[in-house]
Symmetry: C2
Subunit: 462 residues, 2 copies
């Protein structure tokens, strides 16, 4: 059945801004279609293109096989007209007139789209799935190309809007943050020795589902936090383990949360875990505090790296001057990823457009080991939302790599490091909105200080 | 990280049987690739092709971008060789040698596949996703066609194997059934007036996730059971509602469960709900009892329809002879779908191959309203597994359709029917394996009798 959708005038304002940026250039934005899993009739949950949702609002999240056309005839939603079968299999479906009212757009049957767009000059964005991409190619007689021409004009206009979150977007991010907080609290409460990672993951995702939401990305819930993209959940929880949970909500309207917390399975950090946790926490808090208008995101990354390096020097794990350690990428042996990324309707916002969204004009990825994974390098401005997520990892693949090891061998106290073997991976991540007065942590309501984390972890028997 | 996989010799035996059926014809079976959600880097959970899993075993579920080739050189798994980056992002990954040992196959880097298959005559099955289909087309220089030629030979050989569940398959179905039972019990226990559908869905899916499993298909958990494929979960639960839950587990190795139960939100059926529930339950049990070797599945469907019609005649809702009512499709106003389908690695097993799997040679779908939705019409044999899932629905779209209503108007006591308005939809579904001695209900351990259901529903406050 069609879920209730709150009406908002934000999407219309976004469309007006987009029109101003495009001038006379018409734009066609696809929603995409459900992707089959085992077979077409057994699809994955439908997830519309974020661009489509952005310009149509929450309504857009529920309209597969639809297209939004902005041209001289106005804003038109092309969508499949409800069929008689729909009523039996899918229940009452809003009429085209009802959708028009909900979306503040003209609505037409998608069957009419072909005649409307054929042989016209229209900018477009690539559809998110193969079937719709094929349809799009037939409709326009060409393959979309986000790298040049009209499509690039549209890409830049969309980026210039989506980078800056309006009130409706902020409300969506806040809603995602609140649910994400509930998930992390549920995960901490569900943790106990003898359970499995999947037990905790289940408790966290249940908290989202019970609010009518899902996850914004595949959850990471693991005692092997050193595996950066670990989507297995089969390990038992041992009392001495740290559990790393990187789980974020996606609201019904498509807005993302993205939070990582790391907590002790037993409810109490060991002294070595506590030491490293405090180093990562310090790096995360100092980095967030450094967020202000016009700060360069790469400098935030380097600040996180340097704070982390300084903490590791204090612990005796690294040797030397923190700034030099970072300049030589020594920190990256333990912090091999970027400090964060844009967040919005996508968890890595607009990653479908490549680095055009994350890297402002004149900037490109640095090949340096310590910078190559950085997804964002813009000067931040009010309205932008980012994650800040430094970490520390004992990654065997890095530490046992002879070349890498040799390159840093005089800067690491290997015996000292060995004492911290009960820390496999720690990451602390929050979602931060830059406001004119400074950073606002949207996910501040999730235990992060050691006493709060320890208090939130279940200490009962499994 | 790569999850633990139990070794089994069943897949090798399946491959040997397939070879015997194919003679000299080589076969190439694709696993498929993860499907992007918002963007490629944020994929849906990977689900390998069921055919690939079937012939490689549980291992196959965890090998995206891989292919199984059966030819004169033996059974060869082509799979991406682990890269250095894998160890950082995905953790320790089994070597080709380790996969060879686990799968009882030769293993080679997938990069070598092109040279091995180019310009050869090889039967294949269509890949489950667009990217792999494109790759497949390039590899073989043609588009797979399950309707004719070598591919059809392979299709028929695969169907003839997958129709009959070996011990390994039965163990998979049993494992799915056990988790599905836990989910339904959790759902009943989580039900209470004032909660929402999504709360119950969350409790059910948590039970699966906490066992390291997911769902075999999008869950239906709704007080609007009359909407057959209802994937919205936003309605509040009212005390007088029935809740219909169609939820099934998928094991880590890909085997499906598919069960529907319908229970009262208050914990107590109303007299009218009880009457209809008993009619549906009777139809379901009589149909299961009728399962035996060589019974025609369409006759089971008609038996369910006739038992249902007889029950509705007893209640005074339908007027006339049950057999005649069914012959005239009057029952289909209230039971407009088929009584079930094959179940195995797919919830509708082998639906990707069209009706070739569900309809044996010489049979095809009947256009009759009461039969057109029937997915299966084979003579059942030991080793086959099917669902049995009759239902009763008050579907406004059917009952208010003037043509349909006129066609049955003298056979329905509309005033009587109106008294049962608090029944929107009831379905009762189990998974049944046909053994030589008769039917075995794999999902028998889920409350179905009224007292058991009422006892299992939470009666505490929300």
């Amino acid at each position: 059945m069609f879920p209730p959708v709150e009406k908002s005038n934000a999407p219309q304002k976004r469309r007006e801004k987009l029109r101003r940026a495009l001038g006379d250039l018409p734009a066609l934005i696809p929603a995409g279609a459900p992707r089959g899993r085992n077979y077409a009739g057994n699809p994955y949950p439908f997830r519309a293109s974020s661009h489509f949702i952005y310009f149509l609002g929450d309504l857009g999240a529920h309209l597969p096989r639809s297209w939004l056309l902005l041209d001289e005839d106005g804003d038109t939603l092309f969508t499949p007209a409800p069929s008689a079968d729909d009523a039996l299999w899918h229940g009452p479906t809003p009429s085209l007139a009802a959708l028009s009212e909900l979306g503040n757009v003209t609505t037409r049957d998608v069957a009419e789209l072909d005649a409307v767009v054929r042989d016209r000059r229209i900018a477009t964005l690539p559809a998110p799935d193969g079937a719709t991409r094929m349809h799009q190619r037939q409709l326009l007689g060409r393959i979309p190309d986000v790298q040049k021409g009209d499509d690039l004009v549209l890409v830049d206009a969309v980026i210039s809007l989506r980078l800056f979150h309006d009130d409706h977007a902020v409300a969506g991010l806040e809603q995602a943050a609140a649910a994400t907080a509930a998930a992390h609290r549920a995960g901490m409460a569900a943790t106990a020795p003898g359970r499995h990672e999947w037990h905790v993951r289940a408790a966290m995702e249940q908290a989202l589902m019970a609010r009518g939401m899902g996850t914004a990305y595949p959850s990471i819930v693991t005692v092997h936090g050193e595996v950066l993209h670990n989507n297995a959940y089969h390990h038992p929880l041992e009392a001495q383990d740290l559990l790393l949970a990187d789980v974020g909500a996606e609201t019904a309207g498509g807005w993302a949360g993205d939070v990582t917390r790391t907590w002790p399975v037993s409810g109490t950090f060991s002294p070595t875990q506590r030491d490293i946790y405090n180093v990562v926490l310090q790096a995360q808090k100092r980095t967030i505090e450094a967020i202000r208008p016009m700060v360069r995101y790469r400098d935030l990354h380097l600040k996180a790296a340097e704070t982390l390096a300084a903490g590791l020097v204090n612990l005796g794990i690294l040797l030397g001057d923190p700034a030099e350690l970072v300049a030589d990428d020594v920190h990256a042996m333990f912090f091999p990823h970027g400090v964060g990324h844009l967040i919005g309707l996508d968890v890595h916002d607009m990653e479908d457009l490549g680095d055009r969204a994350g890297y402002q004009k004149g900037r490109r990825r640095d090949a340096r080991f310590g910078l190559s994974f950085l997804r964002l390098d813009r000067d931040l401005l009010p309205g932008m939302a980012v994650t800040i997520e430094p970490g520390f990892y004992n990654v065997p693949a890095l530490l046992e790599d002879e070349t890498r090891r040799a390159a840093v061998k005089d800067r690491v106290n290997w015996d000292k490091l060995a004492q911290f073997a009960d820390v496999r991976g720690i990451r602390i991540e929050d979602d931060v909105l830059l406001e004119p007065g400074g950073p606002r942590v949207l996910t501040a309501d999730i235990p992060k200080e050691i006493p709060d984390v320890e208090a939130a972890v279940n200490t009962g028997a499994p």
